[in-house]
């Protein structure tokens, strides 16, 4: 479904990605792992169009997307929930969700909002509150909900567990799995919490300073010596 081939990208003089390649199959949950600064977020930004790769290509459902501006990639079916959530903090929960559905028609959006409230009931309670007043966990739920409003085929999740309490994180990951199962939404998940990521993913890639160093099924990764020692701590 998504095919990233040898993309390189940099921020000015700093090289973030060096010929990164990965593939995500339909309906899968694929994890993108690595330490801080390894280039995981940059990979997602390259896919969603926020970062222009200097070489290589990205194909989605057979169509090349690496030259398209970010605004047009949403309507192709890719939704990016960015690192740090990037909510519209002064707008209400409802308005954030409405914006998530910006690229779609008005009537469909109203129904979908109810669907999102189904996944995240707490958001329904807070629908008129400004997004900035929500707790960390609620904000993450809102960010994911907003991303889902675009009815994406592929959902890019950047560090959904960041800064959240373990209980909340577990809940969110459970919901992510549900979404993947029920809507058949493909998910590319960037995470520093390797254990959690591998518990729901089928396949995984490990990035180190802009290079993919390991790719394998989740099972193999969990057993791999290097992964266990560097990222899982045992």
């Amino acid at each position: 479904m998504l095919k990233v081939s040898e993309i390189s990208a940099s921020y000015g003089p700093i090289q973030a990605l060096r010929e990164v390649s990965l593939e995500v199959g339909e309906g899968q949950i694929v994890a993108l792992l690595g330490a801080n600064g390894a280039g995981k977020s940059s990979t997602l930004r390259a896919i969603s169009g926020l970062l222009r790769p200097s070489s290589g290509s990205i194909e989605f459902m057979g169509e090349p997307i690496h030259r398209r501006p970010a605004e047009s990639i949403v309507s192709m079916g890719i939704s990016h929930v960015p690192e740090g959530r990037e909510l519209f903090s002064e707008l209400t929960v409802l308005e954030n969700l409405q914006l998530g559905g910006y690229s779609r028609r008005r009537a469909a959006v109203r129904l979908d909002i109810e669907r999102i409230f189904g996944y995240f009931p707490i958001l329904a309670e807070r629908r008129k509150q400004p997004a900035g007043s929500l707790s960390g966990g609620e904000q993450q739920m809102l960010a994911i909900g907003r991303g889902l409003m675009a009815r994406p085929r592929l959902l890019l999740l950047d560090e959904p567990s960041l800064g959240l309490a373990p209980l909340v994180v577990r809940e969110i990951f459970r919901i992510i799995q549900t979404i993947n199962r029920e809507e058949n939404t493909t998910i590319l998940l960037v995470e520093q919490n390797v254990g959690l990521a591998l518990s729901i993913a089928q396949y995984g890639y490990v990035l180190e300073t802009g290079n993919i160093v390991i790719e394998a099924t989740a099972e193999e990764l969990k057993r791999d010596e290097t992964v266990r020692r560097s990222y899982l701590g045992y």
Binding site: S48, G49, L50, P69, A70, E71, S72, V74, S75, S79, H80, P82, E86, L87, F88, S89, E90, L91, E95, Q98, L99, G100, Y102, S103, R106, R146, A150
Partner: protein, 328 residues
């Protein structure tokens, strides 16, 4: 600035003859009239201030050329009026031209400096100030200045509208009505349309907006279009009062900046409130004496600015401004 006294006197007409007037309790009619008249003037400041705020909100740029762009299109309106075009058609055409100019300016000279050092857009708008002012001078100053500009057909400059508790000119009443209409239209746009929501989103978080599929560049351009149009309305409404001259908008823009800052640079209602406050303070300070102190019209400018600075010291981001908290 030499004729500042004159300008203030004209703005506080028709009661300007009553300098150092009787205190409010002795002549409440005068007092309320001055207040309402001040609100009318203040609405004009508020409209121009609104233009400044609309741009600042989305791009953190202060458009120093706001007044001169409005001046330019108002002069175009004057030419159309001279050609016997119907007033309301001229109104619409001038607004359309203003919008087009706003879009052009954003696309050609603002876009290139949006990402760089924060002070650069200031230089660009100062350059635009100079360009528009001199183009206006070049095209229209050959003839006689100042030129007269008609008030709306619904309310003349010369006749009085008696509101019962206050008496102001009909034109001043129209100014208030039109200002309210503009505020209402903008409120509906921003809070009840998808486009308005998208513009608000772009102002807050351009990156996230792109991820929603919003074309941020278009939203920014639209902000400039609206801002220019609102400024043009201000120009059209002030021209009958101050007469069209090369320095007409200079007076207005100073008070408009004060109003925008007073209300908070990212708050559209704040701009209008700020304008009203400054308009009223200006009127009252130049008409009344406060005990032994009489500021008079010559000091109305420093007084208004003093009020502004004092309020800013208490509320550093204006009365309704927000962005005070920055994440580190």
């Amino acid at each position: 600035m030499e004729s500042l006294g004159q300008i203030t006197t004209v703005l506080t007409a028709p009661t300007a003859a009553f300098l150092a007037a009787q205190p409010p309790w002795e002549n409440p009619d005068l007092f309320f009239s001055q207040i309402v008249a001040g609100m009318a003037t203040g609405s004009i400041y508020g409209l121009v201030a609104l233009g400044v705020v609309l741009i600042y909100r989305s791009t953190d740029v202060i458009n120093f050329a706001q007044g001169e762009m409005a001046l330019f299109v108002t002069f175009v309106g004057w030419s159309l009026i001279q050609a016997d075009v119907n007033y309301w058609i001229v109104f619409v055409l001038v607004l359309a031209l203003a919008g087009a100019i706003g879009a052009l300016v954003e696309r050609t000279v603002i876009r290139p400096v949006e990402g760089g050092p924060v002070l650069n857009p200031v230089i660009v708008t100062l350059g635009l100030f100079v360009i528009f002012n001199s183009l206006t001078a070049f095209i229209w100053a050959q003839g006689q200045l100042p030129k007269g500009f008609p008030a709306t057909p619904l309310g003349s400059q010369l006749e009085v509208a008696d509101l019962g508790f206050a008496r102001i000119t009909q034109h001043q009443l129209m100014v208030l009505i039109i200002a309210v209409a503009v505020m209402l239209a903008l409120y509906l746009l921003f809070n009840h349309t998808k486009l308005g929501l998208a513009m608000r989103a772009t102002a807050q978080n351009p990156v996230a907006s792109r991820l929603m599929g919003i074309n941020v560049g278009q939203m920014l351009m639209l902000g400039w279009v609206l801002s220019a149009m609102v400024g043009a309305v201000g120009g059209i409404l002030v021209a009958p009062i101050l007469f069209l001259d090369l320095v007409t908008m200079l007076r207005v823009i100073l008070f408009a900046f004060a109003a925008a800052v007073l209300g908070g640079l990212d708050s559209p209602p704040g701009a209008m409130v700020g304008g009203l406050i400054i308009g009223v303070v200006q009127n009252v300070a130049s008409t009344y004496s406060f005990g032994p102190v009489f500021f008079g019209p010559e000091l109305s400018l420093p007084v208004a600015l003093l009020v502004l600075v004092l309020i800013l010291l208490v509320r550093p981001t204006g009365l309704f401004g927000r962005r005070a908290v920055r994440r580190v």
